[in-house]
Point group: C2
Chain length 370, copies 2
Amino acid sequence: MFITKPTLLVDTARVRRNIKRIAGKALISGVVFRPHFKTHQSSGIGEFFKEEGVASIAVSSMDMALYFADSGWKDITVAFPVNIRQIDVINSLAGRINLHLLVESEQTVNFLKNNLLYPVDLWIEIDVGHRRTGIDCSDGEAVAKLAGLIRSSRKFKFSGLLTHAGNTYRASGNEEIKEIYRDMVDKLYKLKENLRRNGVSDIALSIGDTPTAGIVADFSEVDEIRPGNFVFYDVMQYLLGICKEEDIAVAVACPVVAKYGGRGEVVVYGGAVHLSKERASLKNGTVIYGLVSLADGDTMEDGWGKVLRNSYVRAVSQEHGVIKIAEEYFDKIKIGDLLYILPVHSCLTVNLMGGCLSLSGRYFKVMGHG
Amino acid sequence: MFITKPTLLVDTARVRRNIKRIAGKALISGVVFRPHFKTHQSSGIGEFFKEEGVASIAVSSMDMALYFADSGWKDITVAFPVNIRQIDVINSLAGRINLHLLVESEQTVNFLKNNLLYPVDLWIEIDVGHRRTGIDCSDGEAVAKLAGLIRSSRKFKFSGLLTHAGNTYRASGNEEIKEIYRDMVDKLYKLKENLRRNGVSDIALSIGDTPTAGIVADFSEVDEIRPGNFVFYDVMQYLLGICKEEDIAVAVACPVVAKYGGRGEVVVYGGAVHLSKERASLKNGTVIYGLVSLADGDTMEDGWGKVLRNSYVRAVSQEHGVIKIAEEYFDKIKIGDLLYILPVHSCLTVNLMGGCLSLSGRYFKVMGHG
């Protein structure tokens, strides 16, 4: 296949390996593996998970839940606070599948109580320090009160406490990630114990995030893990030390359109509408929008090679990628060649590209935007 | 219409006003107004330009050129260095419309010479300091040499010199933008004079960028202006002082899903896959992902109101927007309400949202991704 414009390639051997690794860890820990499908948003990639025995998934929007329900998934957590404006689609899904929703306010629980047509599983979202969503973990009283409200209606099954410790993305290294995990488990146990004292037992603990899933060896203290990014990984995870370079399963093949010897830069067709404007910082503080590699052979099937040393995407505008290329590689690159850009944040790149092409030419479409 | 999820709204009265203002300035200056359509990517929005007498446009990809050619546009500049891998689509367009392409290397010009099936207009792209694409303006010799090569083939009409002074986006204020414009014109005139000495006369100068189009009063020294963003403007232009708050013509209506009194924050359904991860800095250094306003009445037709003081999008993840809300507004906002987010960079937001809805309910679809 001749690539003419920015094309997202996926190395499915890496995808399978990435899934197998975390699925195995979940199995040994005896926890439910509920992968987050927001990273790939594709029923085709979802099939690789089915092959590993995965039956329950997490998604980040009702549209995504609908899409995967249509692909045959029967047990879906929408890992996002209930948007009460979408009660119609909530009801249509609650009647078809085992739907899990996240709540954190009495207003939302009361709304659901009055408007739900079918029973759902409810999780109380807990904020263990990320400061995005969830009841602050120090507020055991609010958690107990909301649990009581949930248990007062037969429309709800109270599943337990769910958290996303996204603060691991700001960790300085593996030891800090383990500490954040330790601290998260302690906080959840404290809330669980408080609920038990309030007469609520038999609840589950569900945790998210790929850094934790990658670094922590044994999850037996919790009941469910919901990592998502690990399926493809990306430069952010690589720089955090969560994955190896050869675990990154997606790259955007971008045509070289210009070369600037004096600047040591090339420009590719491939910019913010392909890669996204997600940035990462190298150890020396340089802000980058991707790392760069070359073809690893003569055909697309050979995939991409090692990351080029001292080379990176320095800037992106809508369609341009400006790439710093180390001197040792500069003369090897010609106008019309393809560079393979490893994205900083694969979830956003996949969403923008709308699909990915395997090295053997199979196209995995991403769900359409609603 | 009841909005259930993040929805991009467009105020078409503002769009028409924004177009009229720049079209009028171009008319008075006696220059060709060739608006860049990458901001809206929509044939419907394009019609508003036709009403102002616009006949020639710029786009940022061959796919976009194809899309607008299919919508009846006959004179299109692809304001991006020629990607030789797309020679087939270049040929299919060159046979149908007056196609203008950008070149800056002998390799690309020779490739076109050998592979073009129909004549095209060629512009030499000049870098006047943005360090993205184009021949460095100090290299008059390279420009003259490339002009000679272009003029040696009957497949090409040599149109002139084209530049995008994107460095205006880093300007500290209007005076600096005027200086950058002054400096750009001087550099282009120097190159033009050098070409004249080499026997090449009767060439045009084409310049881009919305900051320049917004601030400079008279463009009569150049022949063509290609601003794009001004059609919608955005927070970036507003913070640069290029537009007023009430010129911003797009906002993403986002449902509130959670409130945090202690933090003075609310969370909306609306994140990086809706707004993009483009960031801007307030004067005090705070990094933001958007500004916030409330509905300006009871119906969608009323649009959105003034920007809320001391309130902004503090963080975005894939679907979450975390919004700092000043105390004076906090109690007015309820779960289930809509907040109107003014995007930092409208081009990227429009591209992600895939379309926009006018306040009276007309939907403007954005071209599909190829």
